[in-house]
């Protein structure tokens, strides 16, 4: 009987001290005391108690220097309400991936759902959507320098000059104006249209043409708002098909907008998705391509010379901006046939025109990034963080 207890104690002891180097000596005592069940119990208890003191090991700081290094920053969204967003950097020359660089350098998490990132004056502004903040870090060392907090659901940041930047927001019904030098909020642009049925407008990406800033309103909406950056006022809007999710500007100052068309049984609308070409000067729609109703195109982007647009519609398609015909055959074909998975995000390197394509796999593990040659053949691949959502190219 007593020996059984002793065995149990030992078993629990082994189990409960995973690191247990310094804790080896108590095992002696078992043999000395096992005849007394009470003492055994006290020992058993003390073992349990001793494990209670196990604490988190402090993480060692990792120092980075990405100065004069060309590469790509990848913001990994992580999972909603997990707080596991992360930042990765891929050194293009050395073909080396650095994951979790924000945590490694600053010993703190990025937050919940990293949406996008921009670099301004050597500072990286990382928009952390569901943490309601923008973290600012040195773009070469990734050392944290400031935070812009108190935001609602920030999505993207757009810099107008050293004193002014806009932060779009999914829920705020306003664009926040900040001073990127002092990191302070300096104002806001009201975009609320007081629609009694749905909350409008949410704001997403921002593209500047002269003094005008265009922003797409995606959630339960169909507008491209036109903001005068001199007066910080919404001065006009362009109606497009339902739910514009991404947009780019081509070399001819035409704004291309990709609309996902909503979803089946949506209380807002479900229509055929569309690709729209808008003249940035007179705000007129010049062309409108429709997809099939069941398709869900996303991630519209453009190359550096602004003459070819790319988007995901299960496969990757590309199209010359001068082309009158919609592309029939995919540029990069997805071999994916399962019920989940497939291409998650897309971007094109501004100088090399190499295509970066992310697959989030099962959305619960580190996603894979495929690099494609401008002609469409696979160069290589590497693993980034969970749900790699956006790319920022650092060109030296």
């Amino acid at each position: 009987m007593t020996s059984k207890i002793s065995t149990i104690s030992k078993f629990l002891f082994i189990f409960s001290t995973p690191k247990g180097k310094e804790k080896e000596s108590p095992s002696y005592n078992f043999h000395m005391n096992f005849r007394n069940p009470l003492l055994n119990l006290i020992l058993l208890l003390s073992i349990f108690l001793s494990t209670s003191s196990c604490q988190k090991d402090p993480v060692e700081t990792v120092f980075f220097n990405f100065e004069n290094t060309s590469g790509v920053f990848i913001t990994n969204e992580g999972n909603f309400m997990y707080g596991n967003a992360s930042l990765s950097f891929y050194d293009i020359e050395k073909k080396r991936i650095y994951n979790h660089i924000f945590y490694a350098r600053n010993s703190a998490p990025l937050g919940d759902v990293a949406q996008s990132m921009e670099i301004h004056n050597g500072q990286a502004f990382i928009v952390v959507n569901n943490s309601g903040k923008v973290y600012v870090a040195d773009a070469n060392s990734i050392e944290f320098s400031a935070s812009i907090t108190g935001l609602s659901s920030p999505r993207y940041i757009h810099f107008l000059n050293d004193q002014k930047a806009y932060i779009s927001d999914l829920y705020a019904k306003a664009i926040t104006i900040i001073n990127p030098s002092t990191y302070e909020k300096t104002g806001s642009i009201d975009v609320n249209n007081n629609n009694p049925d749905f909350y409008q407008h949410s704001t997403e990406q921002m593209i500047q043409y002269e003094n005008l800033v265009f922003t797409n309103c995606w959630s339960f909406d169909n507008q491209i708002l036109v903001i005068d950056s001199n007066t910080d006022q919404v001065i006009d809007s362009i109606e497009v098909p339902a739910q514009p999710n991404s947009m780019v500007m081509d070399k001819n100052n035409k704004l291309w907008v990709l609309c996902d068309g909503g979803y089946p049984e949506s209380p807002y609308v479900h229509e055929r998705p569309a690709l729209v070409k808008i003249d940035a000067q007179n705000l007129e729609i010049e062309k409108l391509f429709r997809f099939k109703l069941e398709e869900n195109p996303s991630a519209l982007c453009i190359n550096g010379s602004q003459d070819t647009i790319y988007f995901i519609n299960r496969h990757v398609f590309r199209m010359d901006v001068e082309e009158a015909q919609f592309p029939e055959t995919p540029f990069i074909e997805s071999s994916f046939t399962g019920v989940y998975g497939g291409f998650y995000s897309l971007s094109v390197h501004p100088t090399s025109s190499q295509v970066y394509l992310a697959d989030a796999i099962d959305y619960q593990q580190n996603g894979i990034i495929y690099r494609y040659h401008p002609q469409g053949h696979l160069l290589d691949s590497f693993k980034a963080g969970v749900n790699p959502g956006s790319f920022y190219f650092k060109i030296e």
Binding site: L12, E60, S131
Partner: protein, 669 residues
């Protein structure tokens, strides 16, 4: 909708208020009137010899009971705390006062079935149960049926089922009890109880109220720079009542009616890394459930009919206050009615036959007024059971059971389970058990109908499970020892997963994706010792090893194949020790939770991709005072004695060490 919620709340509230008044009056009257009678009546409780032999209907089943020591020590806590402290069931808690779900034998939250006096408490909408909602104070007995053994109670519990029971105390005449509990972080809990009756009728009323600011301090290393922080927006208020009536007619009819009303409002805190604008996020639950039962005994035959209703309203709200943006304003109503007819025939402890028929209806009506989405669906389900238990020889006993079910438009004809128990020695010291079962779990109504992403074509999750147990039991006059060691393995196919749509749409969809292989060990040890004079020691320990992996990852780049499912620890253990001397009692409960992964690929990383193992120790000291029929108990409790810094769920703040004082006054005739 609003009126429904208000009427339930008003009902619960007025009940609690009225009861409070009545309670005070009765207490007052009793103390005056009946104290005069104290000397007259001497009521002798009959000592009942409990036979050690196991009931035939339980042979070869893997059944365990939560120790009364745990029920008493943790009576002011929630069912979540009770499970963590005294069972092998892993509870994933989102924080103090926040929701808590179970994982039993490596399965998902919806695979643990929770029954209250035979009626399912699992949400027909989501399939799971929030263990933080139930006060231990309302429960008299907790039984667990592990794995396939749960089929004797119902289907769908791929992990196992937990049965919460209320029992009549026929020896009671009049008793009153009041507990005041004061805890750190402005937490006040009040419990009251009044029981009246005689040998043919019993009524018992329990009420509780639990309120907390829940503003515990913590060191926030989820933001930069690190800071001393206080948990915000985590306050809660719960109250409820439980009314039980029991009646005996002609010695062989037993009638009972139990009504349980419950209200729970809580604000939901944000993650540690949140630094956004003011956000309001709250959840309000209102529940009303009732169950009536009629039991008829006639010689070896035993008839039972139970009928119950369960009505739940849930209101989830989230908004950004500065912009006035409402993200969600979702209200759901779940109505279920349960009917159970059962016949048993039992001949001594050698033959038992049971057959039963269940007919249940579930209705779900959910609507989000912000997003203007929702659905209204109904499910009818039938379940038939036939179970046979036979004593084969002096040492061997076996059971065979068969369930057949029908739900929506689906027939599941064959759900069998077979088991054998064999005593390895004549004294029954060593016993071995073996059982195999098929089990399946219906998709929840959200899985089928949620807009967007619900999938009406989902198949039920289908599993096979087997287990082998070795039991050692040694009762002696002044000490006893029991060890139960279980090895189990389950293969569950068509495991339902919500995943982002493959079409590229932004929303998530439900599909039968994974094939999960869950296997492990459960080890339960009980040790009691009476020593010196007046000293008593009671020990209960559990260890669970759980390996639960996805064995059907599809793509070559997918690294989740063969990896542990997220948020399910491989190792968990708990140890509860009670030491009493005369009227003093000291209880220590410890729980150890092993490392948990948060990525399906189980990546090892220093950057919170996985959650470190932790151990929590709680201390409870009580002193009893008895004066004639008046009994008082003063308790002091320390939670998280060693001030352990830990995370149960990624970036959810947890409190360090905190305290409570508990005063209980009871009077019983």
């Amino acid at each position: 909708m609003e009126s429904h919620i208000n009427s339930i709340r008003l009902f619960v509230k007025s009940f609690v208020a009225l009861y409070g008044i009545a309670f005070t009056m009765v207490t007052f009257l009793c103390s005056n009137q009946i104290s005069a009678q104290i000397t007259k009546d001497t009521f002798q409780l009959k000592m009942v010899e409990v036979k050690a032999q196991k009931p035939i209907e339980e042979v070869a089943l893997s059944k365990s009971r939560v120790d009364t020591m745990a029920l008493q020590t943790l009576s002011s806590k929630s069912l979540a705390s009770l499970m963590t402290a005294s069972t092998p069931v892993f509870i994933k808690s989102y924080g103090r006062g926040s929701s808590a779900t179970a994982s039993f034998r490596g399965t998902a939250a919806s695979h643990t079935q929770v029954n209250w006096n035979g009626m399912s408490l699992n949400s027909p909408m989501r399939g799971d149960v929030d263990f933080s909602q139930f006060p231990v104070y309302f429960i008299d007995r907790v039984e667990l049926l592990h794995g396939g053994s749960s089929l004797s109670d119902g289907s769908g519990a791929l992990g196992g089922s937990i049965s919460l029971e209320n029992k009549a105390d026929w020896s009671n005449r009049i008793s009153v009890k009041y507990i005041q509990h004061i805890e750190s972080f402005s937490t006040y809990k009040e419990f009251a109880e009044l029981a009246l009756g005689n040998s043919n009728f019993q009524s018992k009323t329990r009420i509780f109220h639990d309120q907390s600011e829940n503003d515990f301090p913590f060191y926030n290393y989820g933001v930069l720079p690190y800071q001393d922080d206080v948990q915000k927006n985590a306050d809660y208020e719960k109250y409820g009542f439980l009314q039980e009536f029991y009646g005996r007619i002609k010695k062989n009819h037993l009638l009972s009616l139990k009504i349980w009303g419950h209200h729970n409002f809580r604000n939901l805190p944000q993650l540690m890394s949140f630094q956004g604008d003011n956000r309001i996020e709250s959840q309000e639950d209102d529940q009303l459930r009732a169950i009536g039962a009629w039991k008829y005994f006639n010689g070896n035959s035993n008839w039972e009919f139970t009928s119950g209703i369960n009505y739940t309203e849930l209101h989830y709200f989230r908004s950004s206050t500065e912009s006035g943006f409402e993200n969600f304003n979702s209200k759901s109503k779940e109505k279920s009615s349960f009917n159970h007819l059962e016949y048993r025939y039992k001949k001594e402890e050698s033959f038992h036959f049971k057959t039963s028929l269940d007919a249940n209806i579930h209705q779900v009506d959910i609507y989000d007024s912000t997003n203007k989405t929702g659905y209204k669906e109904e499910r009818f389900e039938l379940s038939y059971l036939a179970q046979l238990n036979i004593q084969i020889s002096d040492r061997a006993a076996a059971y065979a059971l068969l369930r057949s079910e029908f739900y929506d438009d689906t027939f599941v004809i064959l759900i069998p389970s077979l088991g054998l128990e064999y005593a390895l020695d004549e004294k029954d010291t060593w016993t071995t058990k073996f059982n195999v079962s098929r089990n399946y779990h219906k998709p929840n109504l959200n899985d089928l109908y949620w807009i967007p992403g619900g999938n009406p074509d989902l198949l039920p999750e289908d599993g096979y499970t087997g287990e082998l147990a070795l039991v050692y039991s040694k009762p002696k006059p002044n000490w006893s020892f029991e060890s139960k060691l279980n090895f189990y393995a389950s293969l569950i196919d068509n495991w339902i997963v919500w995943h982002p749509s493959s079409s590229g749409a932004f929303y998530w969809e439900a599909d039968n994706i994974k094939k999960v292989f869950a296997r492990g060990i459960e080890w339960n040890i009980k040790y009691n010792l009476d020593f010196f004079k007046n000293w008593k020691l009671k020990t209960v320990a559990n260890y669970a090893f759980t390996a639960t992996t996805n064995v059907d990852a599809m793509e070559s780049v997918d690294e989740s194949r063969g990896k542990q499912l997220i948020y399910i620890p491989r190792h968990t253990a708990n140890l509860m020790i009670g030491l009493s001397y005369k009227s003093w009692e000291l209880n220590i409960d410890n729980s150890i939770i092993g490392k948990r992964y948060t990525t399906s690929s189980n990546i090892e990383s220093d950057y919170e991709s996985n959650l470190s193992a932790y151990a929590i120790t709680n201390l409870n000291l009580e002193k009893d005072f008895t004066w004639k029929k008046l009994n008082a108990k003063l308790g002091l409790r320390v939670e998280n004695l060693f001030d352990t810094d830990y995370m149960s769920v990624l970036w959810r703040a947890m409190p360090g060490r905190y305290y409570s004082v508990n005063l209980q006054i009871g009077w019983r005739k």
